[in-house]
Symmetry: C2
Subunit: 307 residues, 2 copies
């Protein structure tokens, strides 16, 4: 195999109570990439469609993660990468992670899979760091592992694959506004009351238990973020109304995707997820904010080979 | 059935990262109680052996929880209770909870089990409040449900039964010192850094996942408390040495039981738990602190009927 075409999905990080640790993978929204072996050493990005991103490998997240892998592999040949970008950068559904994880996943396939998913996550984190300024695996882990992931720790990198009910669907709405990562960080408190931290970790524990036991009622009562959301939701116009609309129409839970501006909801069944989509859309339709929406099964596979 | 004799076990609350939410049940240390129906209405405590506790039902934790049940049941008869107390009050392994949960468990048996474990927990919390000043279920839930429990919330009371590996054993050492509950509370910070809260809830999530998947390595790396232990361990002489001894001799983890002074460790297999017991004992043997120890399988049943 000298060439592989892959689908690298969008992902939701900071799943309510699981801020900074819990994420999941979407199914029908993501980038496509073609990676092929070349006699020429190094990484060469030959095509980028969809968004205006740098072609220099060391300035492109897909390039940087690929170079991290190459540094480790020490090969006497190289790879060229074509990127067909569908996830808008800055949307809050893991655009940079899809690029960073996609390139190393594809190269690993072409090499005969010498690297584990955890190792690929580590390479991809180098690319993610270019985009976000710090190495984190919140979106990379669900992209590479699929399903729900819990990033237990970064050093050593420990990614846990949390099972989830077969009938769980996500609805995502992306209001087309820009949130600066720096602002989303600066708005967070350095210290939080112990009391609400306890409530949050009770919810993390019960959400993990609920996902293991397919307990939709418990998923519903655990999908709460009483720490980050009260601060960051202020950066997203209509957040409270969108959340209320989602919950009132039957969503199990609703929260900020990543650091926003996208908002996600989880529902039992596709019909409900579509109903929730409609309710969320209605809120922005009455405003000047442009938006788009996605309804997706939880993608248990993660990045996949198209051809 | 007019009389029942029960074993009401000791329990470990505040299981490292799961402060205030996660507990488990011990197997071979606990109180015995005999409860019998009487024509006379109300609750009458007729015998207390082991420790000096009040006979007035409304001043005794077993009495107060029983009265809470009776208030709800509205019966034209009553119960007398004999208490054979083996768990020392103030030891940090759920002495008051064993009494509070034991009486309502036994009465429920004599009534033909009209109440759920969750309802019994609610009654028992009234008794616990007499002892600790606030209604909490940290020790009551594992005593009534058995195994590992996660108290997700108090209002509404939601207790989750978390599975655990069959070969998990606890070692408990109880140094015979007194820790005042008020002091154990006052020493805790009101606010904590967001950063360490995130690490703690990552560990809660991964511990629940590890218990579900029988992953001993993950249990080991999750059994950490970076928030409460640094403060409360100061109240327990030799805590750091005991913990080090336990971990060095092969324990998966070690922490403060409840609000102390007891210290618990978890190990894979009984042999290891006994080895850990020996290591923990050695630390106190070189001091003036009197102590006793327990080695116990995780008790999956909770309170049980003896006859």
């Amino acid at each position: 195999m000298n060439e592989v075409k892959i689908f690298s999905p969008a992902t939701v990080a900071n799943v309510t109570c699981g801020y900074d640790v819990l994420g999941f993978c979407l199914d029908n929204v993501g980038d496509e990439m073609i990676v092929r072996k070349t006699a020429k050493k190094g990484i060469h990005i030959t095509k980028i469609e969809g968004y205006d991103l740098p072609f220099e490998a060391d300035k492109n997240v897909a390039g940087v993660s690929a170079l991290a892998l190459l540094n480790h592999a020490n090969l006497d040949y190289g790879f060229e990468i074509e990127i067909y970008k569908h996830i808008k950068p800055g949307s809050g559904i893991g655009s940079s992670s899809a690029s960073a994880a996609g390139s190393v996943f594809a190269i690993n396939e072409l090499l005969g899979r010498p690297y584990s998913k955890t190792q690929l996550t580590e390479f991809a984190m180098k690319g993610e760091a270019l985009a976000s300024g710090s190495e984190h695996a919140d979106n990379i882990a669900p992209a590479l592992f699929g399903g729900f992931t819990l990033v237990k720790s970064i050093a050593p990198l420990t990614v846990l694959e949390i099972p989830s009910p077969a009938d769980l669907y996500a609805t995502v709405i992306h209001p087309q506004i820009e949130i600066k990562t720096a602002e989303a960080r600066a708005i967070l408190p350095k210290e939080i009351p112990l009391k609400i931290a306890i409530t949050q970790w009770a919810n993390v524990g019960s959400l993990v238990h609920a996902l293991h036991t397919n307990d939709y009622n418990l998923i519903q009562s655990s999908l709460k973020d009483i720490i980050i959301e009260p601060f960051r939701s202020k950066l997203i116009p209509q957040f409270e109304n969108v959340k209320l609309a989602a919950l009132n129409s039957g969503a199990l839970g609703c929260g900020i995707s990543g650091s926003g501006p996208s908002i996600f909801a989880l529902s039992k069944g596709k019909d409900m997820a579509l109903k929730v989509e409609n309710a969320m859309e209605l809120v922005y339709r009455n405003t000047e904010v442009a938006f788009n929406t996605y309804v997706s099964k939880i993608n248990l596979e993660g990045i996949r080979i198209l051809s």
